[in-house]
Symmetry: C2
Subunit: 235 residues, 2 copies
DNA sequence: ATATTAAGTGTTTTGTTGACGCTTATAAAT
DNA sequence: ATTTATAAGCGTCAACAAAACACTTAATAT
């Protein structure tokens, strides 16, 4: 016996929801689809799984094609498998969401794909069920970021506390008290203050911090209760 | 254009990790696989996705075949897609974990599949990567149950507080203080006390409760911090 | 010199959590 | 009939964490 006979074989794709943060707004990386159907429409970055790669590998490959980046934080989200979601042929899509440091994003590579960053609140119409994927990713982002320090993956190596507060305020669409925020953030012990200051955004300047990678892994689990009102969370 | 040419089509299966609770131990429902390869070995309940069903539908169908139950709490877990995970032919498996009220389980149906409940700590060797699936499900169960009231899905309509405490103690492999536990549980407002008592398990008898389904949905999100030490959690 | 802007630190009040002790209902044993 | 054993159920207190809130500081621009 070499095959399971009588079973239907299906196309399997991966689609990546790629988040970035430019210091002001949380953004989504989208491409203009290069082939029919829906050619030139806005779409998530995706592709079919190849014969000798697992889904994660496929997602990493695709992410690298678009951004030039490797070793990016990525997480499996959900499988979208409605029989008719792709009008051409049944395709199951495994979705991943990924966080990249927008500063490391290599624009030249992206031109091949006509990629563009969109503020999360101003995303264009997307093909197929990609809008549902983005919605789910936003919800999952809120959920996860309230419990774990994943948002650091969106920041450059050196960042300031006001920067990261802005990021949180973006994700939760709320205003946070800077005193409570910084106290909570610093109490995790995850941050190491640098001597330099960021003078770009204020006269006084804000201290740069970097992650203490030695304890980042351990603390990853125990980062609970970061956002005051858990009621606002979904999923 | 009617097909995406040149792409490889793959078998897609679903596998269900089915939890049950008999009032004393948390258990897993396993079957003896009915076909080659690995015929008669212990396995999760699974099957291939059919042409006109989505993955969730497939999982529901399979769950019904095994347990006779419909409308069961079920959640997508993870995709297992290592190219060589099935030695016969590449198969991607979408896993679901499900909670059923073990009392509703219809044993007669199961005989077709040689199904059996195993205490979570005494599971047999499983085929392929099913043990990894079970491990992941156990972790996800711990994680999720600390944040949301999902464990009620494992209990009958009427249950007592000592019962549910035992369930939590099973999941987290720990002993909880009954006074703090019941205070926390009742403070959610999710439970409605009945007049009857369960006299099976003690002389004094414990009040039956049932879920207030009108607020169960709302409270579902805001059930945080249920287990004292979040450090023990993973994933 | 003075005004302006955002960074950064401190305090008080309130609510939540965990540790712990006592009473109550009932069946079984004497 | 009284006592004993067992688990249910209620209550208190102390420690801690969270949220609300106000002032000082550094540096540039006027």
């Amino acid at each position: 016996m070499t095959r399971y006979s009588k079973q239907t074989r299906i196309l399997v794709a991966v689609d990546c929801i790629i988040f970035g943060f430019d210091g002001e707004l949380l953004k989504l990386l989208l491409i203009q689809r290069g082939f029919e159907p829906e050619k030139n429409k806005w779409s998530l970055m995706g592709g079919f799984i190849e014969p000798n790669e697992g889904p994660e590998e496929a997602a990493s490959r695709i992410l690298k094609q678009l951004t030039g980046l490797e070793g990016v934080y990525m997480e499996q989200m959900d499988v979208f498998g409605e029989p008719k979601r792709d009008p051409i042929e049944r395709t199951i899509s495994i979705t991943y969401f990924a966080f990249i440091d927008i500063n490391k994003y290599e624009q030249q590579l992206s031109e091949e794909y006509h990629a563009e960053w969109f503020p999360l609140k101003k995303t264009p119409k997307l093909i197929f069920d990609h809008e549902a994927m983005v919605e789910m990713a936003k919800e999952k982002l809120k959920y996860k970021a309230a419990l774990h320090p994943i948002l650091f993956e969106l920041l450059p190596e050196k960042f300031t506390i006001p920067q990261i507060q802005t990021l949180y305020e973006n994700v939760y669409d709320t205003i946070l008290d800077k005193r409570n925020f910084s106290r909570k953030l610093l109490s995790t012990g995850l941050l190491i203050r640098q001597n330099e200051k960021d003078k770009e955004n204020s006269k006084k300047g804000a201290y740069f911090y970097r992650l203490d990678s030695s304890i980042y892994k351990d603390k990853f689990q125990a980062f609970l209760n970061f956002i005051p009102n858990p009621q606002a969370l979904n999923s």
